[in-house]
């Protein structure tokens, strides 16, 4: 084992290399490019076995990735934001093929307005396509979860593609100390990919993804995929526990931080959860019983684990870095559905922040904890968008400046 300072992107690339991927169909997009550049460099120099090809779009990239996985090689690829959306048709398609491979998504806000900076609306748009979703909070978690993701994807109980998600900029470009496992030890954890029921060979004619007529066969395939996705909870927990035995870092479907005896809990995903951990420590130091519950998997949704972690709490602050227009936070909605009807369910407060790279300040987390502690049982308040008067003034100032500039250009004499 060696330690290195790695960005989140570099950790993805190292993780894919440790997983001994055979094939990397690629297409560049900010902030994911560093991943594919690193893999391209290693393959070109011979440091890593494998084949590299740049496709002409993410749509084509996902098609090639799924087709290669269905033919029997271990595939890795990566994208972000608009790229994930451009590939959306193929996300559904290759998941329907039950092609097991891993896609890293480096989360970034969606157009329009166009932005390069992160939030979670891209990855949540892929919520229902059949890919399982692992959400990472640190660079170490990113690296470790690449081989784990292959174990889950390739498990006969699952056989579905997996997305490993990390936050753009906050994680993709932040260097953190990362422990690198020895390749031979990862090999023992992750054996070579054995395509069984799906592969194309001269001696073994196979038809994949043929049409169905009528809802009967269609529903059969959809239910099969649903049941396989649900198996992902158990398989992830097993793989994460085995990783823990081998490397000392256990991964479960939830990451619980000082939540067991907490009265108030934050629920959030991704790298901002590390900020919430700092807020928890500060609040604990001030004598407040606060904790954090962070789902690592969003699909399959660890509903039962969340019930166990949250029932009996006084208040829960759900922090969404996404916005479903006309609804609110997606994670909040999912939690409501998981806790619905339970006698001792906590009140859920919804906060929406961190959109398009906006930070969430410690003071805001403290305020959320205060509101959660003060919340009356019964009626839940509407979702709150984290946005300050100062931020609004800043936008108004820009608008005024642009307006004045336009008037000056239209009437140079004034």
């Amino acid at each position: 084992m060696t330690g290195m300072l790695l960005t989140g992107n570099a950790a993805v690339a190292r993780g894919a290399r440790l997983a001994r991927v055979d094939y990397v169909p690629a297409f560049p997009i900010t902030p994911q490019t560093e991943i594919i550049e690193a893999l391209a460099g290693w393959i070109e120099s011979g440091d890593m076995l494998g084949r590299w090809v740049t496709l002409e779009s993410e749509h084509a990239m996902l098609t090639a990735a799924g087709a290669a996985a269905a033919t029997g090689v271990r595939v890795f690829t990566a994208t972000s934001s608009q790229g994930l959306l451009y590939a959306m048709e193929m996300l559904y398609t290759v998941a329907g093929w039950r092609a097991p491979f891993v896609l890293a998504n480096v989360s970034r806000g969606l157009a329009t307005p166009i932005t390069l900076e992160p939030d979670h609306n891209d990855i949540l748009a892929a919520r229902d396509c059949g890919f399982l979703q692992i959400h990472c909070a640190t660079c170490q978690e990113v690296l470790d979860n690449l081989p784990i993701a292959y174990r889950v994807a390739e498990d006969p109980r699952v056989r579905l593609p997996v997305i490993v998600n990390l936050d753009g900029f906050y994680l993709s470009f932040t260097r953190e100390p990362v422990v690198l496992p020895e390749p031979q030890e990862v090999d023992a954890f992750l054996p070579p990919f054995e395509a069984r029921d799906i592969r194309f060979r001269a001696s073994q004619p196979e038809s994949q993804a043929v049409a169905v007529l009528g809802g009967g066969p269609y529903s059969y395939f959809r239910y099969e995929t649903h049941l396989a996705a649900r198996n992902g909870l158990q398989v992830y927990a097993e793989a994460g526990a085995e990783w823990g035995e081998r490397f000392g870092r256990v991964y479960d479907v939830l990451d619980l931080y000082r939540s067991e005896d907490a009265e108030i809990c934050f629920v959030m995903i991704g790298s901002f959860a590390t900020k919430a951990m700092a807020a928890v420590d500060a609040l604990r130091a001030a004598g407040r019983r606060v904790g954090l519950v962070r789902p690592r998997l969003l699909r399959p949704f660890p509903a039962e684990a969340l019930r166990q972690a949250l029932v009996g709490k006084r208040g829960v602050a759900v922090v969404d870095q996404n916005l479903s227009f006309g609804f609110g936070g997606v994670l909040h909605g999912e939690l409501c559905s998981a806790l619905y009807g339970l006698a001792d369910a906590p009140i859920l407060l919804s906060f929406i922040g961190g959109l398009g790279g906006r930070d969430i300040a410690q003071s805001e987390l403290f305020e959320m904890a205060r509101l959660a502690a003060a919340a009356d049982r019964g009626e839940a308040p509407p979702p709150r968008l984290l946005y300050t008067q100062e931020e609004l003034r800043e936008v108004r100032k820009l608008q005024t400046l642009a307006h004045a500039e336009r008037n000056r250009l239209e009437d140079p004499g004034s």
Binding site: D22, Y23, P25, R51, V53, L55, E56, S57, H59, A60, M61, T63, A64, A65, G66, A67, A68, A69, A70, T71, G72, V73, V75, E89, M90, T93, W97, F200, R201, A202, S203, P205, E206, S207, Q208, A209, V210, A211, V212, L213, P217
Partner: protein, 305 residues
């Protein structure tokens, strides 16, 4: 083509590798061409299919193919072919699959995908020199959805989205020329009604590696509005009138394989199909017919040495 094993129709294979009982329309010119191609190609192949009429060849749990099949999506069959080809190469190179298990990788699309939505993926695959065969059944419209105008619809044809008295005002996109501009390993136009010419081209294509186009005109009884028994006759007329030039591209040169020596007037072809009926009824439009004839004449004048 002196080395061909196909000298007369008696030399053509009668293997009938493609199974029967598919839901294609009676008289489908696309299925006719595919049938002939498949007899030569054989079952050591994997079809990567784009959305179109032929998507319904394989309906769960049945398939008419002896070999393999993968449905992708309308825009990206060539990218699917890329993934399969690369994976087979990797498996053979790593010794995980014996070379005798290798497959011919085939993209199968209609004109809507080939000329339109899938063109970006096609261009990318040719540019990457992908070793694959690309079969297009060109029925000159979005046939699977009721023959709306596609990028392959010819000038003057009526379609479900172009019902006016003049028919389609635009021009058929020249996919063969687009392929040639990419300098592929091989490109050919063909039609099921000329099986000998078709067989020689498939034979040539199978002897070459790299991106290879087989662009088959597919007379479509339902879309073009003619009796299914006339598919062969209409296919032959398309060649005899010069409207569908049979040609191939190899090593930078285009050769016409069956140039009509004395071209039949285009109206003989146009009058066989309901999609051109407005050129003859209620009043005969000699000006429009002459216009179409002039386009064909101009093409062949440019071709003549």
């Amino acid at each position: 083509m002196s080395e061909t094993r196909f000298h007369s129709v008696k030399d053509l294979p009668s293997a009938r590798l493609l199974g029967t009982g598919t839901p294609m329309c009676a008289g489908c010119g696309g299925l006719q061409a595919l049938h002939q191609i498949y007899n030569l190609l054989g079952g050591r192949s994997v079809f990567v299919n784009a959305a179109g009429c032929m998507t319904l060849l394989s309906v769960y749990p049945f398939t008419p193919f002896r070999g393999s099949w993968l449905y992708t999506a309308m825009a990206s069959a060539p990218a699917g072919a890329q993934g399969v080809r690369d994976a087979l190469d990797i498996l053979i190179a790593q010794g995980r699959m014996p070379p005798e298990e290798d497959l011919q990788v085939v993209a199968l699309t209609g004109d809507g995908s080939a000329y339109g939505m899938g063109l970006s993926a096609t261009s990318g695959a040719i540019e990457r020199e992908l070793d694959f065969l690309y079969i297009v059944y060109d029925n000159e419209g979005y046939g699977n959805t009721g023959q709306q105008t596609s990028p392959a619809t010819p000038h003057g044809a009526r379609t479900a989205t172009c019902r006016g008295p003049g028919g389609f005002a635009g021009e058929k996109k020249d996919l063969f020329a687009i392929w040639c501009a990419h300098k592929p390993a091989y490109a050919a136009t063909l039609v099921g009604a000329e099986p000998l010419d078709l067989a020689r081209k498939v034979e040539t294509a199978l002897s070459i590696k790299g991106p290879r186009l087989l662009l088959a005109l597919a007379p479509c009884p339902t879309g073009w509005d003619f009796d299914p028994r006339h598919t062969v006759e209409i296919g032959k007329l398309a060649v005899k009138t010069g409207l569908w030039p049979l040609k191939e591209y190899r090593e930078g040169r285009v050769v016409h394989t069956k140039p009509p020596m004395r071209r039949v007037p285009v109206e003989r072809y146009l009058e066989t199909q309901g999609r051109f009926r407005h050129l003859f009824e209620p009043t005969r439009r000699d000006d429009r017919i002459a216009e179409i004839q002039a386009r064909v004449d101009a093409y062949w004048e440019a071709v003549a040495p």
